[in-house]
Symmetry: C2
Subunit: 483 residues, 2 copies
């Protein structure tokens, strides 16, 4: 962004700057909501990245015009093909560029001449490699002379399920990431792809996926500002190896974090990791240690690895911020009850709730005599969905309980039943804050997917579920403190 | 065990005591290697636990005689049925008891009269519930008058894949836990079952599964001593909520840990957790904080949750102890490289290896020019199994490398290829210590199962893979220090 402002001769702080910044962010609408898309590098060979992208874009909502661009073809997938983007008869909102790196600056010049609003440069072989650095310099010069917003180069593309998909891997209905509320910005295309597929595998819904690549123009800061206004986005997960402008990142975060939570996995925090990052993205990593304190002050939730990144973003997108840390645990497995209790009691900010006598009496009438009515509530192997329903109802009235951690476990030989999933979904939707825990196996995997599909936050290990509670409590505290 | 010695009038420390202890442990062979099994509570109703157990036992190796015991049937599943165990014509090695709790003391008396060598009491409703405490006292009196070894009551059963399965859930070939090298002892039947199914789901091979239930006779200490001599067992995972005799547990561990590693998840370590444990298993949890130091001194690896318990046991059963902590990382995903580097550098005992110039030069000839030949070795998205093979070969000669963490990642749109799995398996088997990392999704799940099936330790998150390295390094250090 800083570069963009500079090339428009504007500083961030003057009045016109504010307007331009707004326009700069708003211009990203052409990336996510283009009225038409030119695919530069579409080909009659269906395996070429450009062709896969063409197919993925064509599967978006009808009404988006698509223009294949390729000097060697007249028609691709039944669409008229244009030799260059300059030959496209209409104005172009978005150009996706997937051609050999040396051809990119030329194609980019065409885009600028044409007045294309935004471009996504999929092509790799730029600043992320020693030999591509000069080419990236050339490309930057071209880009900075124009007003076309550019994502990339070396990006894996963007995806908004049901809207736009410029990723160059084939998808069909069963494997496509589902629409939902987690936005995911990634600086590593490969990491991004692996996690996008992980989310699709567990049917976690996403609002947007953006691979920022080498960030010669559009960066994480632009994207955060844009996505904060996206109605579907309820949390933003960021995988970053370097900040384009760290100060600005924290300024923006501080400004917007009240509205939507941001989770950050900043890798390259050790000296060795920073070196690895430099050789990988060609960008210099920031200071070798991002202060957790700086993150907290800005309201950003730090993640230490890719699992926390997604788990925390899911918890924050789908769960409710917690007003207190007193947890009631429901489970049918004694060992899970004890282990969860240990994990909760050992987590700062959380503790096991002391149930009121009234609640315990109420639970006693629901459970068999040998079940434990103290917290953790062990409904034992005789558990039924009705018992879980009854216990959840009792807990709603108890002011000593801030959140319920309910373990959704099977009564083998049957997998977790639809009835149990329905009961838990019902109370998640209408009751106190609730998080679901489980253990992934043949009896639970389908229900994990169902919960995710319904937007009920579910975590397939005890520790992961407890960490989700911790993050929701931190979010609650942050919202209280920043009120 | 203490109780058994007492009832045999023997202290652990006299000479006869040593013999008896050996015999006491050896007597557990009747639990795992019975020549014949009486199923007390087999029924013509195929859904009764006794019938499921009968079916599971019948699916074991031929040559095990099976005697259904039920006063109300003459024949069950084509087998002659006996009214009581006393009516069985031959001597009985193992009786599995799955009848209503109040009938158990009587059936147990019959077993003792008959001279049955060992009994597994599946029935629940004893000391784990308030109302069953008196019944457990009665059962203990019966058991302590006899010499039949007793597992339970309130046990989920035992399983040695391909040998014996007294678990009361139905299994078929596709869902059965696979034979392998992890022994798993659990005090919580439900937790045990969930993790057994988790291991089956990922095709992690187990040597034995034992749910110890209320431990009125056989306890974790007996089982550890027995399993240490089991050839298939390469590591022992223990989930415990209480020690039957903590001092003895550590004595035994200290004595045997050099031979085979023991991983312990001791839950009930917080005061609240201990309370939950007491209400669940009826046993008093030990001291509220198990000292990590005591564990380390005894050579026991501590786990904090169910995921670490299984991961660590898998690492130790299938991986090699590390003589040093210098890790070489191979991956085709830049973000994974950087994040793994951070995790390794932040883990005490581990650090990123400095590759020799020779190794780097060798790698240079294998990888494309834009790949990083420094550690982490990022073979980029153009990665082929041949490149991974070549890099692994180069690393073998480098004395600066103690272990290789290789990420097994897909080149979409194809899942991880058989070729890649074969290359990694080959080097795992013939080369330096090696651990596989990945991220679970549709492109990797099959390969995760294949690695596990082949006994190659694989972990589906960066942190989990790095923790496995840490545990292998700790094991290496322990073996050095205790030499």
């Amino acid at each position: 962004m800083t570069l963009l402002l500079k090339r428009w001769g504007i500083t961030r702080h003057n009045v016109q700057g504010t307007y331009v910044m707004r326009e700069r962010v708003a211009s990203l609408r052409y990336v996510f909501y283009p009225r038409n898309v030119a695919i530069i590098g579409a080909s009659r060979d269906p395996n070429k990245p450009g062709s896969v992208i063409l197919k993925n874009v064509l599967e978006g909502p009808s009404g988006i015009e698509v223009y294949p661009v390729n000097p060697k073809a007249e028609e691709i997938m039944g669409l008229r093909c244009y030799p260059t983007v300059l030959d496209v008869p209409d104005g172009v909102d978005l150009a996706v560029i997937a051609i050999p790196a040396p051809l990119v600056p030329g194609a980019m010049k065409d885009c600028i001449t044409k007045g294309v609003k935004a471009a996504i440069i999929i092509s790799a072989g730029f600043g992320e490699t020693e030999s591509g650095k000069a080419l990236q310099d050339e490309l930057e010069r071209v880009v900075h002379e124009g007003r076309t917003r550019v994502l990339g180069p070396n990006t894996f593309g963007v995806m908004m399920p049901g809207r736009i998909n410029t990723v160059f891997y084939p998808y069909d209905k069963s494997t496509s990431p589902r629409p939902g509320n987690v936005a995911f910005i990634t600086q590593s295309g490969a990491m991004g792809f692996l996690l996008l597929e992980k989310m699709a595998y567990y049917r976690i819904g996403i609002s947007a996926f953006v691979s920022i690549g080498n960030k010669i123009d559009v960066d994480e800061n632009d994207l955060i500002e844009f996505l904060i206004d996206d109605d579907s986005t309820k949390s933003i997960a960021c995988y970053l190896e370097s900040f384009r402008d760290g100060r600005e990142f924290f300024e923006i975060s501080r400004r917007v974090a009240r509205r939507k939570p941001i989770v950050l996995l900043k890798s390259g925090v050790t000296e060795r990791g920073a070196r690895a990052a430099a050789s990988h993205t060609g960008a210099l990593a920031g200071s070798s240690a991002v202060l957790e304190g700086a993150l907290r002050q800005a309201g950003v939730i730090g993640a230490h690895d890719e699992e926390e990144l997604i788990d925390f973003a899911v918890a924050l997108a789908y769960g409710k911020p917690l007003k207190g840390g007193r947890v009631a645990v429901i489970t049918s497995a004694g060992g899970v009850a004890v282990t969860a209790t240990d994990r909760i009691e050992n987590t700062p900010g959380l503790k096991m709730a002391e149930l009121s006598e009234e609640t315990k009496d109420g639970i006693k009438t629901i459970l068999p005599p040998f079940a434990s009515t103290a917290n953790p509530i062990d409904i034992t192997a005789t558990s039924t969905p009705e018992m879980v329903d009854g216990v959840l109802e009792e807990l709603q009235k108890d002011d000593n309980v801030d959140v319920v951690l309910v373990f959704s476990l099977p009564q083998p030989p049957l997998p977790v039943t639809e009835e149990l999933v329905d009961v838990i979904t019902k109370w998640f939707r209408k009751g106190k804050p609730l998080v679901v825990g489980t253990i992934e196996n043949r009896f639970t995997i389908d229900s994990i997917r169902t919960y995710n599909q319904r937007g009920v936050p579910v975590f397939p290990s005890i520790t992961r579920a407890v960490k989700a509670l911790k993050v929701l409590r931190e979010r609650g505290r942050y919202l209280e403190a920043s009120r």
